[in-house]
Symmetry: C2
């Protein structure tokens, strides 16, 4: 049964439930008790979607029609450039990275141009560390490089700083043609990047108005990078649209996977589990764990509920990778506090098979490996880990992809986005804002001397003085 | 003061302490109350070290003398190979990766051979995903590749499977010279890998007997890879030896950085903070967060204390990266539950500087960036984030490296190892074993048909039957 390949994603939540091996698990009744709230959430989310507030779902159809333009541009530029560099941070970086790693060759940048289908190498500059920044820019020939600047507002300090430096280099090296090396993904009507793009003639793609970075992978933010690097973005969108429809139209916690995952998360949160581990058993999904960590943390980590009451909610997402992290984290998961739930993501059929050779001269202890495959070993390790965690009374569930391809990745993105939206409803918070990062942004503006932030600068400097009257330990 | 470059590491723990801005912080008296326990721990650890139980420290001197041999071998093989591939998992992978990323070019593998100093590209195969495995092996020319198989016992299923496949390929492609493409790092006297290495004539390096994978970076496990890829391993060891001596000889929680960090961690754990975030503000230290996550999780996540009582202790480590994760995790850190402590790691002086160009035609909102540097922006972002977290009443501390080089990385490794050892003492557990992964390992042996595990196989299969009578949701 487990090895049966299906078109869709399967959720196996057995490990969350009460059983003879794990009596501490949930009862089905506990999930059913949430059905009324989930039904109400479904209505609310439908209304909010119609009002243009659940953009990640509502925009799928219009984005699908935009694809022609994206693909056309991507196919035109891909053969012209050796390198494609995203300048972006947060969702503008994590989504493109996750989809690229899931669907392209693991060592894509190391391949010859032929093996990459004459598509450019792919880099994402998602930080402002001056060492890495210089190391990348010194390595790439600007004449052969296309930069994609992604910022909705053009207010993101990190991305705008990178853009200013890159534009300066391009102007010096490429002369009057520099604008051909920049493509901008930004708001249609507003922000600081738009007037520059219009004035200087950069090719533009639009980030739809309402959507937040962490929900923007299936907009030009993520689709442009994917198309340029040869990913089948139409199939990706088909998977997303299919899952979107399934979740919007399916009733009942035991049929609707987003409702189910949100209900399980909510029960675990209510029972004091403040940690949620996301642990794919496929190297291609390693970066998906980073994307999901942003989605879960930034959407659900909130001080206030919708009525303005202080609630300070939010499970902390933890990224792991099987089998690798069996050798680093599973000791804690099995023996540490019972404070976490684990989601395994597994792939039923890998697109490669690797046989372990038989050698009868080997020490007997490792003879058993001969004649088996790496994917059998991977599956056995996962099953053994599930079993061990069950014996230890630790709750876990599985998202099972029949294969890892553009269709199932599209499905997975929408499943995780929808379950986050549902969890926001169950927690009665707004999953689509991020008020808690404003303080840090404003503090940065203040310390960097932006006009209008003088008072805040003084506050932070006062804080600095207190700081250094307290504690430091210095070694030699 | 903050910008003063020092030879040593500084711990700034102000953000953990009570102040006018954060009254919930700790009082100095709370730390001082732990001094007796810490003094006792120092005596115990000294005794255990003398008895050969704190190998990561005790072995430093002997490893230092082994370096000549390691460097000689590394310099001999480096120019002969285009690729160097570590086959290892857990500590055998995370340590080499962390040190490589901290000290070599961020895009090392993308550099030309000249710019790499004619040293090989560096890959670590730390998983058994068949797709990635094949993608790597098909890309590399075996004739130009050196493989380093790392397993103390030769019992690690993942590494041994990889080894058997690679050896088979090498035999086919390189004929009688295949053994020159394999270097083995394993136990001196025992295990499954040793007899194969002896019989087939592989070059060998020794993993000292007692040491666990997560504490083995400064043994041939990590030093060989570092030396082959051009890292100054002597300077790395000097930093480690310096910090080791400092921590062993310095008395008092406010002078000994390992005691201080363990005491802060222990107080936070006692007060219900079950999450510990490690957030470097330097791209080079991103993988160090992975290494540290293993160290902290596997050492301290324990079911039993030393008296066999069930305690289920262990803070869950969370990896983050500044400034990148300000745009993904800080929303949760600032507004979510007060269930975590954060360690920032900052670098005072980067080895590169990048100026942001001035352009008076820009929209006024981003004018402030012009004329400043990326490292100023990075520092401002970190300070603003600290300030924002303080206002939100969230505890944080800083490990400050004057620069990021082999010396300070050596210091950092030892600081983190010693603080883990101290935390083990404060929790009264054994920080040096990992009994919780045995169940999963044995389950894997059982499912893969290893002799002697037949009964367990039946148990797991029974469990499988129960499993699928419970819950599944299938989409299309």
């Amino acid at each position: 049964m487990e090895n049966q390949v299906r078109a869709g994603i399967t959720i196996d939540y057995t490990g969350m439930m009460s059983s003879s091996q794990n009596p501490q698990g949930f009862e089905k009744e506990e999930l059913l008790e949430l059905q009324n709230v989930l039904d109400q959430a479904q209505v609310t989310l439908k209304t909010r979607r119609a009002a243009g507030e659940i953009d990640f779902s509502m925009l799928l159809t219009s984005v699908k029609t935009e694809l022609v333009e994206i693909i056309e541009y991507a196919n035109a530029v891909a053969p012209k450039f050796e390198n494609f560099v995203v300048l972006g941070i947060g969702g503008s970086a994590l989504g493109p990275l996750a989809v690229h790693q899931a669907l392209n060759h693991y060592y894509y940048n190391d391949l010859s141009p032929e093996k990459r289908g004459h598509r450019p190498r792919f880099y994402v500059l998602d930080n402002i560390d001056p060492v890495r920044f210089n190391e990348l820019l010194q390595m790439l020939d600007p004449l052969k490089t296309l930069f994609n600047v992604i910022s909705k507002s053009g207010n993101t300090s990190e991305t705008m700083a990178q853009f200013l430096i890159v534009r300066d280099t391009l102007r010096r090296v490429c002369g009057e043609h520099y604008a051909e090396h920049i493509v901008v993904t930004t708001d249609k009507e507003k922000g600081n990047l738009l007037p520059i793009a219009l004035k200087e003639g950069f090719r533009r793609f639009v980030i739809p108005a309402g959507i937040g970075g962490r929900f923007s992978e299936l907009t030009p933010v993520g689709l442009l990078a994917a198309a340029i690097c040869g990913i089948d973005v139409e199939k990706l969108m088909d998977g997303a649209l299919g899952m979107d429809q399934w979740i919007r139209e399916t009733q009942g916690v035991f049929s609707n996977p987003a409702q189910l995952r949100a209900a399980l998360a909510h029960l675990s949160w209510q029972k004091g589990k403040n940690i949620s581990v996301f642990m794919p058993y496929a190297d291609g999904l390693k970066t998906m764990a980073d994307w999901y960590a942003q989605l879960w943390a930034e959407s659900l980590g909130k001080r206030h509920d919708r009525h303005g009451r202080v609630v300070n909610v939010g499970q902390t997402p933890v990224k792991a990778l099987g089998v690798t992290d069996q050798h680093s984290q599973v000791q804690l998961y099995a023996e540490g506090p019972d404070d976490k739930v684990i989601t395994f993501v597994s792939v039923v059929k890998f697109k490669e098979t690797v046989e372990i050779p038989i050698d009868i001269d080997l020490p007997e202890d490792i003879q058993f490996l001969g004649g088996r495959t790496l994917e059998e070993l991977l599956a056995a390790e996962q099953k053994a880990t599930e079993y061990a965690l069950t014996l230890a009374g630790r709750q876990h569930q599985k998202i099972i992809l029949p294969i890892l391809d553009a269709y199932t990745v599209g499905q997975l993105l929408l499943l995780l986005e929808w379950e986050t939206a549902y969890m926001g409803e169950l927690l009665n918070i707004n999953a689509f804002d991020q008020p808690g990062v404003e303080e840090g942004k404003n503090g940065t503006y203040a310390l960097m001397g932006r006009k209008g932030y003088e008072a805040r600068k003084q506050d932070i400097e006062e804080y600095g003085k207190i700081r250094y009257s307290l504690g430091k330990v210095i070694t030699n």
